[in-house]
């Protein structure tokens, strides 16, 4: 992972050089966010939490509690009904789309491309927020994209077609693109969905290394165990509850809270081998 870290360090350095003085770390603030579909189906109405650049935050909650909706709001795809989302006290609403994209990168769940592009052509689109409307990526942009792939040990995929690589590879390629986009904050929507067990852990490792090198990471997950593996902060959203709870994963994830959240029996046991608490289900 050191290679990735070095790469990320480079991008962060570039970012610091290119944008305003980043002596203080950026903070993403969700301030009383409320959203409802068609002004009728209220998903959440009073979310409040902060995310500092360089930190990792997992979003936990049952299906339909509004995790993806929240990410879509932060990414600017949906408009909040009330409340505000701010970066260092600057409201995201007031930003131009391209400026927003330079601040927040979004990796939605795996997409299926209609047309066929090479992996490199896909990754290079991360430069889009930095290019003028009629401009096209230049050699240096391609080099940057290739570098991002190389540092993630995926350079052998560069010329392959995006349609023909596996789901796990696509997820990594999407992350390579968001690294090329070099925002301060990265939103990952269920990055481990559709991945095999090994790839899930590799992806968590990658996400953590991105956070270690200065990106603020906000990721949704369906597996509370991942929060414990990452030893990160967590936000717990409950269905039908307008606000959320946030804090250290270790402290908030308890047997009671999980049973309450998912409505089933879950055991939380200490594992000496793993040196952490583990979530396990009872045999059926």
């Amino acid at each position: 992972m050191s290679a990735v870290e070095k790469k990320v360090q480079n991008t962060m350095d570039n970012e610091r050089a290119s944008t305003d003085d980043a002596s203080a770390k950026s903070v993403l603030t969700i301030d009383g966010a409320a959203f409802s579909y068609n002004n009728r189906y209220e998903v959440f109405s009073d979310l409040r939490f902060d995310l500092e650049a360089g930190k990792m935050l997992c979003l936990l909650g049952p299906n339909g509690c509004g995790k993806t909706t929240l990410l879509n709001c932060i990414a600017g795809l949906y408009k909040l009904n009330s409340g505000d989302i701010k970066i260092d006290d600057e409201s995201l609403n007031k930003m131009q789309p391209s400026q927003r994209a330079r601040t927040i990168g979004y990796v939605p769940q795996i997409i299926n491309a209609t047309f066929d592009y090479s992996v490199l052509d896909y990754v290079v689109t991360g430069c889009a927020p930095y290019l003028k409307l009629f401009a096209r990526p230049k050699q240096e942009d391609y080099d940057r994209a290739y570098e991002a792939l190389k540092q993630m040990q995926m350079d052998q995929l560069a010329e392959k077609s995006y349609a023909q690589i596996s789901g796990g590879e696509r997820q990594q390629v999407s992350i390579a693109r968001v690294v090329v986009q070099r925002p301060a904050f990265i939103l990952l929507d269920e990055p481990t969905a559709h991945l095999d067990f090994g790839n899930q852990l590799r992806l968590l490792e990658l996400a953590k290394s991105l956070a270690d090198e200065g990106f603020g990471i906000l990721m949704t997950t369906h597996n509370p165990d991942q929060v414990l593996i990452l030893d990160s902060d967590v936000i717990i959203m409950q269905k039908g509850v307008s606000s959320c709870i946030c804090g250290r994963g270790k402290e908030l994830i308890t047997q009671d809270s999980l049973q309450n959240l998912y409505g089933i029996d879950i055991l939380l046991e200490e594992s000496e081998g793993a040196n952490r608490n583990v979530c396990v289900a009872k045999g059926l």
Partner: protein, 363 residues
């Protein structure tokens, strides 16, 4: 010794890799340059043949000489030939090139925006609208110019109706836009049937029907000067936006998270592509299949990247249209309507393309 060799190999290998980085992202561009050069050469050859054959057939070399004499302003050897080539065949040739190129470019743009390779440029009703416009002009007994103007205006009106419907129902998805297109096309088709029904059978009805089948018989240089600005401006804008269109074809969420104003970009691309289509319809009437098939063929040749696919589609479409139009005026003594030939040739060709694409997984 052994380790030395491995070391040496690694160094060599590394330098090869460095080279690879320098060339990264260039392989498809290289392929594109090769393909487009060949296509342009083919197009020029076709153009020369098209200028040479017809009611009066000439030796292509003589035609070249005659063209040269016109350019240099010297006295031509055969004044009759210069008359036929310059005043009759050349305007028609240029019309064919631009109609085919514009339709193919518009088709590529539509397919990219709607992320669907089955889309043709009349998806939002521009053709059926233009037909209604032309039919109204025919029924009112207006002249050629009014007929073209009406076709253009009502064609674009149909597209604006299609674009407005999703806004009225407050659903801005692509699917809603497609449905709006179906609604508008259906409505315009019925309007057209109504006009045909009340038209005079011998004169007006046949005029409408022939107009719908498309033809370049009446293409004159005056028409060309009218539509050329539209075609050039819209084509340049579309090709300039081609990299953005790549991103748009990933889907709305991706495009928006990369900081693009999706709604505005989609609007601009749709308007440009519709203007292109409407402008061609003014000159040739409705021509089917070209806007659907040629973008596919271009994709097969240079890949899906719109930066390469769009110019390729333009050149391919231009050549294809020229081929069709030359056939239409040379197989028999009367001009065969274009849509008959584009359908007869285009449909089986499309089936063959799909067969070819089955293996390469590009769709």
């Amino acid at each position: 010794m052994g380790s030395y060799r491995i070391c040496n190999y690694l160094i060599l290998n590394k330098s090869k890799k460095e080279q690879a980085i320098a060339l990264v992202g260039q392989s498809s561009a290289k392929r594109y340059r090769g393909v487009i050069t060949v296509l342009i050469v083919i197009m020029i050859a076709f153009a020369l043949i098209a200028l040479s054959i017809g009611h009066y057939s000439y030796n292509p070399l003589d035609v070249l000489k005659a063209l040269g004499s016109v350019i240099t302003g010297s006295e031509p050897e055969d004044a009759g030939m210069v008359m036929v080539v310059m005043n009759i065949r050349l305007p028609r040739l240029i019309a064919a090139l631009f109609v085919g190129g514009a339709l193919s470019l518009a088709g590529s743009a539509y397919q990219g925006v709607f992320r669907n390779p089955l889309v043709s440029p009349d998806l939002l009703g521009v053709s059926s609208g233009a037909t209604v416009g032309a039919a109204i002009a025919i029924l009112l007994g207006l002249g050629m110019l009014a007929q073209q103007g009406m076709a253009f205006a009502v064609g674009l009106l149909a597209v604006f109706i299609s674009i407005s419907i999703p806004k009225l129902v407050r659903n801005n998805s692509n699917l809603m836009l497609v449905l709006a297109g179906i609604i508008t096309s259906g409505f315009m088709a019925s309007l057209c049937s109504t006009l045909k029904f009340i038209a005079d059978e011998d004169t007006e009805l046949s005029a409408i029907v022939f107009w719908q089948m498309g033809s370049l018989t009446t293409a004159k240089s005056a028409d060309l000067w009218m539509i050329l600005p539209f075609i050039v401006v819209c084509s340049v804008v579309l090709i300039a936006l081609s990299w953005r269109l790549n991103i748009l074809s990933f889907g709305e969420v991706e495009a928006q998270s990369l900081g693009m104003n999706v709604k505005r970009l989609r609007f601009v691309i749709i308007v440009c592509a519709s203007c292109l289509t409407a402008a061609t319809i003014c000159v040739s009437g409705t021509v089917s299949w070209v806007g659907l098939v040629i973008p596919h063929l271009a994709r097969l040749l240079v890949g899906s990247d719109h930066r390469f696919q769009m110019p390729t589609a333009f050149v391919l479409g231009a050549t294809f249209m020229l081929f069709i139009d030359t056939l239409s005026r040379t197989i028999t003594t009367v001009d065969i309507p274009l849509s008959i030939l584009t359908g007869l040739i285009g449909a089986p060709f499309y089936a063959w393309l799909l067969y070819k694409q089955r293996a390469s997984n590009i769709l």
